[in-house]
């Protein structure tokens, strides 16, 4: 295993809970994964609709930084994951776009490196059995809806993450903790993404349906792997409840936090206190804390 960690802007600013719980797992599992020094933004969803060339060139800087260290890339943010893969694809095409990207970046960039989401590394490289051995606490009795969002699974040909409509990677990891993954139909429904700021009402409409369906199918909390989905479901949950006159009170965990709990890590290390919808009453009622 030879990965460099690319946290991306969201994990650095609005999602420190994801960043900290990831770091806690890396330390606990003694993985040799270090942050890429001086990484730059992947361009987020803002550049792509405007300038395709730029949206492929910005992440190419990160590919280059990892190459310099002779490492593959580990990411947590699906949006970064997508942009890095898109840039790599642009470099692999060996056509006009490739030439343009190289010209814009101003240097030769290798495109053979791997780009992996942390959940892929956990399941495919460390393996479920090995992780199972590390479990010291069972989250039995906790019912979780696994919500992947749309970015990490689609387009499947480019992302190569998991099934585009019914992914199972996070389900497998969450099941490992002893918690129950409920069956529900909105695993990869879009949350409205970056409309969060420009059209908040749209996001409230879409996330309302997600919360409603999760609850209807028996979930007591939701597990996510995307910082933007997290903001839309956690930070905005109060606003959703107000708009629709319906109480949900569904804690939104990052999957890394649930794993960390089952490994016996402290709530503080996992930044559970930084969630907007407090998970403590639920965890206490289940005897987990």
């Amino acid at each position: 295993m030879n990965y460099a960690y690319y946290p991306g802007c969201s994990l650095e600013s609005t999602s420190p809970d994801f960043h900290l719980s990831t770091q806690a797992l890396i330390d606990f599992l003694e993985l040799d994964i270090e942050e890429i020094p001086d990484w730059t933004c992947c361009g987020a969803s803002a550049i792509h609709p405007d300038n395709k060339l730029l949206s492929c060139s910005l992440p190419a800087l990160t590919l280059d930084a990892a190459n310099q260290e002779g490492k593959d890339i580990m990411v947590q943010c699906p949006s970064c994951y997508a942009h890095l893969k898109e840039a790599r694809h642009a470099l692999r095409r060996k056509d006009q776009l490739t030439e343009d990207v190289l010209e814009v970046v101003g240097k030769e960039v290798e495109s053979s490196l791997e780009i992996k989401h942390f959940s892929e590394i956990l399941v495919h490289e460390i393996g479920l059995e090995k992780l199972q051995e590390k479990r010291v606490k069972s989250l039995e009795g906790l019912k979780i809806a696994n919500y992947y969002g749309c970015v990490i699974v689609r387009p499947q040909k480019l992302m190569e993450y998991d099934d585009p409509e019914n992914p199972m990677l996070m389900d497998q990891l969450v099941s490992l903790t002893g918690a129950e993954s409920v069956d529900w139909p909105f695993k990869t429904k879009c949350c409205g993404a970056s409309n969060s700021i420009s059209r908040t009402d749209v996001v409230l409409d879409l996330t309302y349906e997600i919360l409603r369906l999760a609850k209807q199918n028996g979930a007591e909390a939701i597990s996510v792997l995307c910082p933007l989905c997290h903001i839309n479901l956690d930070l905005r949950q109060k606003a959703i409840e107000k708009r629709y006159h319906e109480k949900f009170n569904l804690p939104i965990f990052y999957y890394t936090q649930l794993l960390g709990l089952s490994f016996g890590l402290e709530p503080k290390e996992l930044a559970l206190d930084r969630l907007f919808v407090s998970p403590f009453p639920l965890l206490k009622s289940k005897g987990i804390l």
């Binding site: 803002a46 550049i47 792509h48 970015v151 387009p155 700021i197 420009s198 908040t200």
Partner: protein, 186 residues
């Protein structure tokens, strides 16, 4: 919906161009409507995703470029994943939006204001500086108080950084400049 095909539109030419940009074949669409059925934003669109494709087949550029739909699409790719004919509807939305931007057609949603604020932040700092992005968006869109009530909450949970990080920003700026010049064909 009744459609009057304007004799002046250069039939197919627009569709061909978009196809090239989106790298997909819109002619394969047989209007089953599956893309529209699964689109989470269809309820706000003026023409549905399958209609966008139909208008492309007909070369009706104005309909597509002046639609609200191309600005509301969030690129979730549900449509393209499910299309039985392998049409990349999302790609067409994306290509149409970029064409509209290039032709300076007035955006039908604030999403452009947000995109510009994001790009400005990356250009200046090399990374996204969230307070700057939201502030910039509020100024550009005229929604001055938008989301400001979230700031104290974010501060309380230490989920916002009030000082930007500058990272390799001159290198990033160079990339921006060269890419923009190239896109303009200079």
């Amino acid at each position: 919906m009744q459609i009057n095909i304007n004799k002046d539109v250069n039939l197919l030419e627009f569709g061909e161009k978009l196809q090239e940009l989106a790298e997909t074949d819109v002619k394969k669409c047989y209007q089953c409507g599956k893309c529209t059925a699964g689109c989470p934003l269809n309820y706000l669109m003026d023409i549905s995703p399958s209609q966008v494709i139909r208008f492309c087949q007909l070369g009706m550029k104005e309909k597509v470029l002046n639609s609200r739909s191309i600005w509301y699409c969030v690129f979730c790719d549900t449509c393209s994943t499910r299309c039985p004919q392998g049409v990349d509807i999302k790609g067409v939305m994306d290509a149409s939006r970029r064409t509209a931007v290039r032709q300076k057609i007035k955006p039908k949603a604030d999403i452009r204001a947000l995109e510009k604020s994001f790009a400005g932040s990356i250009y200046s700092f090399g990374r996204v500086f969230e307070p700057g992005v939201v502030g910039g968006f509020n100024l550009r869109s005229g929604k001055l108080l938008h989301d400001v009530f979230l700031f104290p909450l974010l501060l309380l949970k230490r989920k916002i950084c009030l000082i930007p990080h500058w990272v390799r920003s001159s290198e990033v700026r160079g990339v921006f400049k060269r890419a923009r010049r190239k896109e303009r064909g200079l």
